[in-house]
Symmetry: C2
Subunit: 306 residues, 2 copies
DNA sequence: GTGAAAGCGCTAACAC
DNA sequence: GTGTTAGCGCTTTCAC
């Protein structure tokens, strides 16, 4: 009766107390290397699903720094998030080891760590992405196809390169070291890789380039413009994550796209399943699974017949 | 002594219990209409500052829905965030009224609500942004300058329009209703506004257009391409929030830019000041203040001499 | 039905 | 120093 009076006024239940009692915070942590990258799109999908289930998101941006990532993994554990979505930048995260036997559900996105136990993940089929990109170029008659890769330690890089090599091999084309450039996932690095490829263009004779990340695609285009190499006139180009839904670019860029909305929604559903399963008796969601999603090939005008 | 053993193993203090006791969660809520918009950049700045001070971010995306915004304002209060950063989409938010006498510090960004008491905000100087845009066009000899505005109820729209009108008046140019289009902050709306302007181009004779939001700029460019109106050949264009730091666009777009990093950092500092002040005796941070930041005019190739 | 009490895990205050 | 205790605001249990 006293309570009813409060209700009508401005009583707000204290969720902190409730969380302490219930041992559940109705909160999911998301750790990403850079919120300005495509992760903003993934988070949008995650938030759409989680908010409907009454969960909030604690967002952490590591700025591509694995130490900061470590700290956040620990902090979010202390904050007792019910689940964690992690786009890790490190292969052997020290805080992740701690996570290993911890009860808190984790689902990985974007990149996989090297851990001695089964992990859950929602990922782009990176291998297939590269196959599709290369096969598209092959269809246009290209045979000397260069590739610009990111950090060799990351699983995304390894798989994207593997898909490229496999597609070449499947079409009886020998891969050439001169056509492969490694860098890191930044605009500058993409730019430098492209410059190096152009420097030995006469020798290597490539007619097309496939760039395997968004920032590197920006850098590669920058280098092409800087050297006044026209595309698709002089070089055909397939980019990555280069969304341009309104077709504002000219020439529009042919690019591999990730199904960002679906990644977000699926990872949210997956984490919810794991959270609810940890309360349940039948632990089917406890079986670690990697969910691979198909890439989308957005066809633009940056690829020409050779 | 027993504790020390735990420490060495994997003991993680329970921040939920600590928060309940301390009546402070070390958490700040951020509510934005769409994380995929320029807010991602603002959040990056916010997170950079807050993480150094040991605060986490609870992120809420309202999807431009004022009802969802209401729910989030309430939920974050229940979660006892220590402060709230709010990019509101509504002018008279019912949950905001509740906020009025509430003790929790709020700082507004992007857009101001209509509230009967002083509020804190970190904002772009929208008036000045439009003045700069219009004056840039005037310097290139344009006299018939069209403008594409967003939702008339939002303060951002009002101020951007006011700056446009003021700059014209200051240069003894009469404003013409035919040159002003209102819409909403979406790509489609920007596209439609541009089409309507083009439909009466012969009559109105405009030579330049100033678009006052990012999504609308995309829409306007889309409409120009669709109608095969060349820019800056047939029409000069000044956009808004159209970041293209790598100059990948051709022609590159002349655009008003917000100092997104600084907005993020300042709003974070402001919210921290208010949080700490509510514990303190001298309540200087309690004096509501609007911090206005200068826009940046990014000069591209989309404006030509008339 | 309505009401009292215990306990979630921490911290601060107080006692030894 | 070291140890005990009360209480943050909620939920659940159990008593009435």
């Amino acid at each position: 009766m006293v309570k009813k009076a409060l209700d009508r006024n401005n009583y707000l239940p204290n969720q902190v107390a409730r969380s302490l009692k219930a041992k559940a915070t109705n909160t999911v942590g998301i750790i990403v290397p850079d919120i300005r990258d495509y992760f903003a799109y993934v988070i949008k999908g995650v938030e759409e699903v989680l908010s409907k289930s009454g969960y909030s998101i604690i967002l952490a941006d590591t700025n591509e720094d694995s130490e900061k990532e470590d700290l956040y993994v620990r902090l979010l554990h202390e904050k007792r998030v019910d689940g964690l979505i992690l786009a890790t930048v490190s292969t052997d995260n020290s805080a992740l080891k701690l996570l290993g036997r911890s009860a808190i559900p984790v689902v990985f996105i974007d990149n996989l760590p090297n851990l001695p136990y089964g992990i859950d993940a929602v990922l782009l089929n990176n291998f297939k992405a590269s196959s599709i990109a290369v096969e598209h170029l092959l269809r246009f008659g290209h045979r000397k196809i260069a590739v610009i890769c990111g950090d060799q330690r990351e699983t995304t890089t390894k798989e994207r390169l593997a898909g490229y090599l496999d597609a070449l091999e499947a079409n009886s084309i020998a891969s050439e070291p001169d056509l492969i450039e490694y860098g890191s996932f930044t605009v500058d690095s993409g730019c430098q890789c492209m410059r190096r490829l152009l420097d030995r263009m006469v020798k290597s004779g490539f007619t097309a380039v496939y760039v395997t990340s968004y920032k590197m695609t920006c850098g590669a285009i920058k280098a092409l413009k800087e050297r006044k190499v026209s595309f698709p006139g002089d070089v055909s180009l397939v980019g990555f994550d280069f969304t341009d839904e309104n077709k504002l670019f000219s020439p529009s860029i042919t690019s591999i796209l990730q199904p960002v909305d679906n990644i977000g929604r699926l990872v949210a559903h997956r984490i919810l399943a794991k959270i609810h399963d940890s309360d349940a008796m039948d632990k089917t969601a406890d079986i670690p699974q990697k969910i691979l999603l198909d890439p989308i090939l957005e066809i633009g005008e940056s690829v020409a017949q050779v």
